[in-house]
Amino acid sequence: MMQSLFLVVVPYWGQSLLRVLGGLVAVLLPAGTIVYLFLFKMMSFMQSRLGPMEAGPYGSLQLVAEVGKWMQKEDIVPQRADKFIFKIAPVVVLVSTFLLVVVVPFGPDAYFTNFDTGVFYALAVSSISVLGILMAGWASANKYSLLGGLRAAGQLIAYELPMVLAVMGVVIQAGTMNMQQIVVSQNSGSMFGFSGLGNPFVLTQFVGFIVFMISIQAELTQAPFDMPIAESELVSGYMTEYSGFRFLIFFIGEFATAGVFAMIASVLFLGGWGVPFAWFGWTSTDDVANWMNLVGPLIIFTKMMLVVFIIMWVRFSYPRFREDQLQRFAWKILIPVSLANIMVTAVLKVAL
């Protein structure tokens, strides 16, 4: 599919180079806009201030300034730290983000890979970041980071289960694990005979959507669940000993993962790159118009921004759970709810 893109034969190594560049753009570009739009601007507006205004017009180059600052800072490795593990911990966290973005479809033909078991792959890969965080917490030989790392391990594992179960509802309704098919089934389906709006799973799978969003909030260690980076207790959890370039990787990792998880959420629940096919009379991917390959990424970008807005909005308004409440909430409330959701979907799937 990629080889005839620009009517010139692109050798295989060229394709993988294009894919790598595409992956970089697909991860870093959303991360940059999220940081600027939400962390700098929206948070400030919610706190009745203007946020950074000095670097560039309306503070737009603030992120460039921050990256520059972190680059020139000396990245210290604590003396008693476990050097090797300490150094590669942030990379592991970032790698899991890039692995995740591979499976996200951006258009009828514009995707990196089209696994048949895309959803299964995404959920499996998303748990690699737990390893990175644990390695960071353990290796920096600091009590605060140890506590932060252990808390992160407990929390991320506890919240992976509801995430998986929430996604099961979607998979059952779409009947396939292939992300592309899920997008197609959402946009070509129809609700109660009216097909103008397609069949976005957020309406039919609303419970699953809520559980998935809560689990994302926990996976990203965002506000109601930011026990691992509890500033008021653990200084900054597993990231305490990191500085300079390594902290930059963690920082980008945090927001890139937010962006990628939001993309997956928009693919699974909001209909991914597609607009309801009924508008253009399409029925399946192969008769979708070619310009959709360019418009698709924009659509999924806006849907992702909407999902990230919700995540950040919750992040700036809520205080933090305590460790045991967090676990009790996951095991006692989220998992039973998502199991019930699966049963209801299965029964309805068979009935209809």
Binding site: S44, F45, S48, R49, L50, W313, V314
Partner: protein
């Protein structure tokens, strides 16, 4: 009406603040470009009116931080009215206030019997080198023009018997 769960009301507050900031502007002042004018009585820096000062040393004696240094010498001054006696008066040699030590309490301004010291709301005199915070009498006199008129008093206040 049903009690909206606290979680949702919380989101409402932050969203409302965001809308208010976008529409009505933020409460913060972009300092180097726009500057907030401090109130009239604000104690920014102490200004010295040199010819009022008779170096009676009351201010430097009553300063809790010992940060006012005065040196003077006796001198003869022409009589006020012709044919009057030649007066002996103190001439100021040195009148320094060390703003690195000063805690802006205002006892010196209040205790000065000859109204030589005044408050001015000026606040932008920070120095990279702490030694420059020792303002000598010429610098203190420069602050004199920034001293504002005393503000009118609230209704019901006793008229000042000046």
């Amino acid at each position: 009406m049903a009690k909206i769960p606290g979680l949702v009301k919380g989101l409402g507050v932050t969203f409302g603040t965001m809308v208010r900031t976008i529409t009505k502007g933020a409460n913060t002042v972009q300092y180097p470009h726009e500057k907030e004018v401090p109130p009239i009585r604000s104690r920014g820096v102490i200004a010295l009116h040199q010819d009022n000062c008779t170096s009676c040393m009351l201010c430097s004696r009553s300063c809790p931080d010992w940060c006012i240094y005065i040196e003077a010498h006796k001198d003869l001054a022409p009589p006020r009215r012709e044919g009057g006696k030649v007066r002996q008066v103190n001439k100021l040699d040195r009148f320094d206030i060390d703003y690195a030590l000063c805690m802006y309490c205002g006892i010196c301004v209040e205790v000065c019997p000859f109204d030589a010291l005044f408050w001015s709301p000026e606040y932008e005199y920070s120095e990279p080198n702490i030694a420059d915070l020792l303002h000598d009498k010429s610098k203190l006199s420069e602050w004199m023009e920034t001293v504002p008129e005393a503000p009118a008093l609230e209704v019901g206040a006793d008229k000042k018997k000046k």
